[in-house]
Symmetry: C2
Subunit: 480 residues, 2 copies
């Protein structure tokens, strides 16, 4: 159901041109009304001087800190979120609760892992989300070394019964972060192969580009609800180097580990929502946000305090305008993203059930740290492309190039996007994101204020224009 | 006792000129014989392509790893050192043992420290060398916050009885590393003030420039043999930021800590020595080296595996020359440097007792990581300056400027230097040294091979020329 029609002179021109295009006549580009350009410029100037996003992130990470999904810390974060939204003057502030399966690390964020043979020394490693505990006294076993995920998968002859399987693969740093998916394969399902082949534990080289001795944690995947019976740990890159060097000597290598990780039954999480109600079409929603939960070792400043701070601050700057935008801006601080987009799925499911999904005219999440925005992508109907290009031209002076129209809107947007909600995307420079991601080093001091301000500027401009311009972002889609 | 006299044409010219200088006639500069220049050039070329230093450091950190003074790990390092010297063909390989007071961290390198109020979250902190243990169940107390060492010293009114004293001060990074001493004051003796004023523990902001959550450890000072009865811990910089932010709110802040650190009575350490015996004046010694012990959290790659690797490799390249240098090159891998130059003092004491101290014609230690050498300093007699300047001119193409004649020769050279042994100094770029120093991140992957090779080149050239040239490095000193 499309509530927004292309009305008004520019909108009609746009439609005409989209049709004209089919006859190879160049379309007239969408033109943003001058007063809207002026407003978006003013938002930019304010944002580039605003401390608000950094204040929000500092407050969240100082007063709540780590906030693993389903724990009392995440609950505290929801209370914080509600209070912060109210303090900033958002409307319709509420929590939408949902249930989830709780996994926790157990006693401490410091897990004891020691190389015991042939060259004893402490290792720095951390349980992966979803992994099982060792017995109370720990586990000690020889290491079966596989240099890569592919090598482990291919080599089914090596007997790993009773052994600790170690799987390599180094992540490549990139502005786009695209090295992550490949390096992450071993985190997702290597535990299944290891367990099926009789291993007592899985160790993987830390997914992440850091030469730091903090290992990268993260959730594993659980096909058909199956859960690991073995511990699964990530080993810091320098320690993985050590394991690789020793493996090359051919000597028997032993590791002792102790972890208290495990699944703890059902628990509650929730999405925290605040709105700026639209002045003309309040039922139409531009949805933006980040996720509120974080991993338990750091304080979740970059992942995703940054997304929370950027989108809350951008919306607040828009709320401070003399006139609210035409549509409603809904800021959602999703719960339980890290453990499998649980909050995002709950959010989308509810909108499918109450049939308000199509009210979501466009969406976007900020969940890639606090590096500067360098590219503006989209995923809209063909007839809305010219309008997105026009928004892109406004963003360009911030150093942002126009990306393609095949972008995802961010992890928590996936269920909405799959259900047909159009997306915008403000791609951040992720060159150093995986230096800190999912480690204790994800703390607020890693944020460069000027880069954060550039993010807020881009988000304020995009969100305002998306909410204000008379564009149907679904227009021209095949299915329409 | 000066065994080396200024003999030969250039030497005599030098002496003549030194005398002439007093009458304001410019001295004829010392000229290095052409064949020695050719040899030092050849050493440079070989060194810049050599993997030996990196191989040595990798071997030491892989097979031994952390090697805290007085522990079995340091003993294993001595065995490693003896074997490595022999494998490389050094002569007179031996260990000179000495006794020391042993301090260890206790159960684990992972120490549990938690901020319990007002905003509970784990902190990353580590006991300072020499600190005491908490009771088995840990200690919890309110924090008395002092922004700096000076503030703690000056503010004697604040009652810290039963509290945890926190002392700030941020270290400034510098190529020379000179921010270390100032920032280190709180590590040295703040425990005495804290203990005397009734505190239950001392916490300091990590000395070190890293934004990493690994805190910088290191030995405290113990005037008159007094030892702490309270735990003393270093808190990572991001966690110290957290403590500072909370302190600014004025709320009561509580920390719980658990450490098993303590003094363990007497133990043994030792200096490991290998030589290249001089062809003409074997009794004259050019002493170079690094220290073998390291802190227990990292693997001591930079501190001081690098010094061990650089000086062993440089000496080995000299040993491989068709002809040994005139004097003996003695490479000393000192024990127990980190805990108070115990090995260096033992070495110097023995040479004072057996009256061989004056045989040490010049010395230098490499103990500042693996950053490239950028400055060549010295501490020699006035009449030897021209020769040092000439060596400096040979080093210049490596990007090394000539420093002054007031340099120290490195920590383990201090007792020798105090007893009158002349010194050379190859200053390394320490801009990022304190990113890794005394933390788990001191691992071999932090070493840039090309920079290490430049070090070996500079050390091979300096050591060869120092051992070969017909110069009395004490000549022209006031006391002579």
């Amino acid at each position: 159901m499309i509530r927004s029609l292309l009305i008004g002179a520019m909108g009609l021109a746009s439609v005409a041109c989209a049709h004209a295009q089919k006859e190879d006549v160049p379309p007239t580009p969408f033109v943003i009304p001058a007063e809207n350009i002026a407003t978006s410029q003013a938002l930019k100037e304010t944002a580039l001087k605003s401390d608000l996003a950094l204040d929000i992130i500092t407050d969240l990470t100082t007063k709540v800190g780590p906030r693993l999904a389903g724990t009392p810390q995440e609950e505290k974060a929801r209370t914080w979120g509600v209070e912060k939204f109210k303090e900033l003057g958002f409307e319709n502030v509420r929590v939408e609760p949902f249930e989830l399966d709780l996994w926790t690390r157990g006693r401490s964020v410091y897990e004891e892992v020691t190389l015991t043979a042939p060259y004893p020394q402490p290792l720095y490693a951390i349980s992966l989300g979803g992994g099982a505990a060792t017995p109370e006294e720990g586990t000690e076993a020889s290491v079966a070394y596989f240099k890569s995920y592919d090598a482990f998968k291919a080599n089914t002859e090596t007997d790993v019964t009773g052994k600790i399987v170690f799987v390599g693969d180094r992540m490549t740093a990139a502005r786009t972060g695209e090295g992550y998916g490949w390096a992450n394969r071993k985190r997702r399902d290597a535990w299944i192969m290891a367990e099926d082949r009789g291993a007592v534990a899985l160790f993987i080289r830390s997914v992440g580009t850091s030469s730091n001795r903090f290992a990268h944690t993260g959730m594993m995947s659980f096909p058909e609800g199956r859960r690991p019976n073995i511990p699964a740990l990530s080993v810091s890159n320098p320690d993985a180097d050590q394991i690789e060097r020793i493996s090359a000597t051919g000597e028997d290598m032993k590791i002792r580990l102790k972890t208290f990780a495990g699944w703890r039954g059902k628990s509650m999480s929730g999405n925290v929502i605040g709105e700026i109600v639209g002045r003309e079409n309040p039922e139409e929603i531009v949805i933006i946000g980040g996720h509120l939960d974080s991993w338990d070792t750091g304080t979740g400043a970059l992942d995703d305090g940054a997304g929370v701070g950027i989108t809350m601050a951008a919306a607040k700057l828009i709320a401070d305008l003399p006139e609210k935008p035409r549509r409603t801006i809904r800021v959602v601080l999703f719960g339980a993203e890290e453990v499998g987009l649980v909050g995002a799925r709950a959010y989308a499911k509810e909108r499918m059930e109450d049939e308000t999904l199509d009210n979501h005219v466009i969406g976007s999440e900020s969940d890639f740290g606090a590096g500067e925005v360098w590219r503006f992508g989209s995923n809209v109907g063909a007839d809305a492309l010219s309008a997105m290009d026009a928004i892109g031209r406004e963003l360009a002076p911030l150093g942002i190039i126009r990306g393609n129209n095949k972008s995802g809107g961010g992890p928590d947007m996936m269920p909405l996007q799959a259900a047909g909600v159009p997306m915008g995307r403000l791609d951040q420079n992720g060159e150093d994101y995986f230096e800190f991601h999912h480690t204790p080093n994800d703390t607020v001091d890693k944020i460069e204020k000027s880069e954060l301000q550039q993010n807020v500027a881009a988000w304020a401009m995009f969100t305002y224009l998306a909410a204000e311009l008379d564009v149907d972002y679904r227009a021209g889609r095949e299915e329409e």
